[in-house]
Amino acid sequence: MKDKPSAWLWWLVGLALAAGLPYIITDAYTQHLLILCCFNIVLALSLNLLIGFAGQISFAHAAFFGVGAYTSALLATRLGISFWLALPAGGVMSAVLSLLIGLPSLRLRGHYLAIATLGFQEIVVIVISQWVSLTRGPMGITGIPKPRLGRLTISALEHWYLLALALVALTVLFMIRVSRSRLALELLALRENEVAARSMGVNTVKMKLIAFTGSAFVAGLAGGVYASYINSIDPYSFTVWVSAIIILMVYAGGVGSIVGGIVSAVILTLLPEFLRPIAEDQFRMVIFGGVLILIIMFMPEGMAGFFEKIRGRLVPRKFPEV
């Protein structure tokens, strides 16, 4: 069985390099962008579990991100609960809520599932913005406390980056463990041919629920960290447009590819910023859209698939030799 130790080495090297970045790039705005990249990576990877492995579609990922953010923020601001406890609570809340969409979705496929998740996404945003007594509605929640580690309060950008990077590392570890386990086989079988998977003994109900709740949990965790970082949140940071961008990150990176997800999340986070000096606001997003269309046209299997094609074989997802 080839559990390549060299693969772990590459990941550790990458992690070390990434950890050193904020000490090389000291411009505050760029550091902020790097932190945003981290959040997007976590969101893209967690959605990949659902789209890439399980083959489901969901427009509700931003909603789970938002539920995690709001849960964590409310627990911290209203009940004074520490960041480190509020964070997993946010994750759990998102996971529980994902069952609300996961259970009814069991019978839905393709476009119908997409619409159902879209509806759920919209409902969550509406509930958050209307339930003023709980969430302060459109005014949002402000003054979210920073996490404390012993005597250190995490407020410096470098420290925030390291915290966000730690979250990325955990998510990558999670995804790697999934891809090397029996879970990956069952999820991929579900993706490839649900009927055949069931006939070969895969409990597709359980698998779909695992995929939904797992991806929602991680998104919820990311939300909790994000809320504390950004200090104030409102319902409009968690709209369907955010969901759409994350979906694009997944497809642009290559469905099922961990490295692809990371690369595309970084590129798609930084791209609009790099376009800023070149083009005015409206054109910036038009160009952004154009780039996405080009990616879809010329790299239908995403960047990971594109590079695999160049290497002579087409593997749209990274599943190591069993």
Binding site: R177, R182, G201
Partner: protein, 262 residues
């Protein structure tokens, strides 16, 4: 003394709205038997397979395996109970490799939990080795061991059919349902498939085959059941069924003349 049948259906009916796919269908498969299910297209044969394997819930009637009712159970429960199948239209996991396709089935017999596999415990690793060896064994059984790393969708048609069989056998079934296993095959490929079926039979697995190739049915099956328009019109040993005028009228017709030429 009659031995307990392995698979038994009583009064099995399936209605899709107003369409009567199966009505009052009763049949059985004995342990270690090879039974052929024949009939014109649209007779309800694949519908019957879908009912047995749990992809459909019967409108009426019952299906039992080893005396225990399985109709109404989910497909994965029935697979775990020991029923496996191949598909008329090939349903492989296209983007997975040949080996991965069979490993998935092999995992049905895993004794480790999902969690231990996720964590990557020593026990789960050892088991992955074991299941991988078993999967490779089944690939060799059908003769595609050399294609283990190839993506299933890139296989030639005949190899895809063989992979379907290997994948179905890797679940360790007591009963395997083969849905037109020689569809689209030339005579030599059909002969190969007949060999595989005989070897599966030698392992003690019961087999239920839907087939249109009469040479195969007459050559391999111990019992034949004939369906037409959702109802059983004959059953018995192949030679008797072949002579049954109802069957000839519904289906065998021209083929009877061919059989006499053998």
């Amino acid at each position: 003394m009659k031995t307990e049948p392995l698979l038994e259906t009583t009064g099995l009916s399936m209605f899709f709205g107003g369409v009567k796919a199966l009505e009052g269908f009763a049949m059985e498969v004995g342990p270690g038997q090879i039974v052929g299910l024949i009939g014109p297209n649209g007779a309800g044969k694949t519908t019957f397979f879908n009912l047995v394997t749990g992809l459909l819930k019967p409108s009426a009637g019952r299906i039992s395996l080893n005396g225990r009712v399985i109709s109404g159970k989910t497909a994965d429960q029935i697979a775990r109970a020991g029923v496996s199948r191949t598909f008329q239209n090939i349903c492989l996991f296209g983007k997975l490799s040949v080996l991965e396709n069979v490993m998935l089935s092999a995992y049905l017999r895993s004794r480790c939990s999902l969690l231990s596999s996720f964590i990557g415990t020593g026990r789960s690793r050892k088991e992955r080795h074991r299941l991988r060896a078993e999967a490779e064994r089944w690939l060799d059984f059908v003769g595609i061991g050399h294609l283990a790393g190839v993506k299933a969708e890139n296989l030639a048609y005949g190899d895809q059919r063989r992979l379907e069989i290997a994948r179905a056998m890797a679940t360790g079934p007591e009963l395997i349902l083969l849905d037109e296993p020689t569809c689209g095959m030339n005579p030599s490929e059909t002969g190969e498939t007949m060999k595989h079926i005989r070897r599966i039979h030698d392992q003690g697995v019961s087999i239920l085959i839907i087939e249109h190739d009469m040479k195969l049915v007459m050559g391999i099956c111990q019992q034949v059941v004939v369906l037409d328009h959702g109802a059983k019109i004959a059953e018995g040993e192949p030679k008797e069924v072949q002579k049954n005028p109802l069957v000839i009228e519904a289906y065998l017709g021209k083929t009877k003349i061919d059989a006499r030429d053998q």
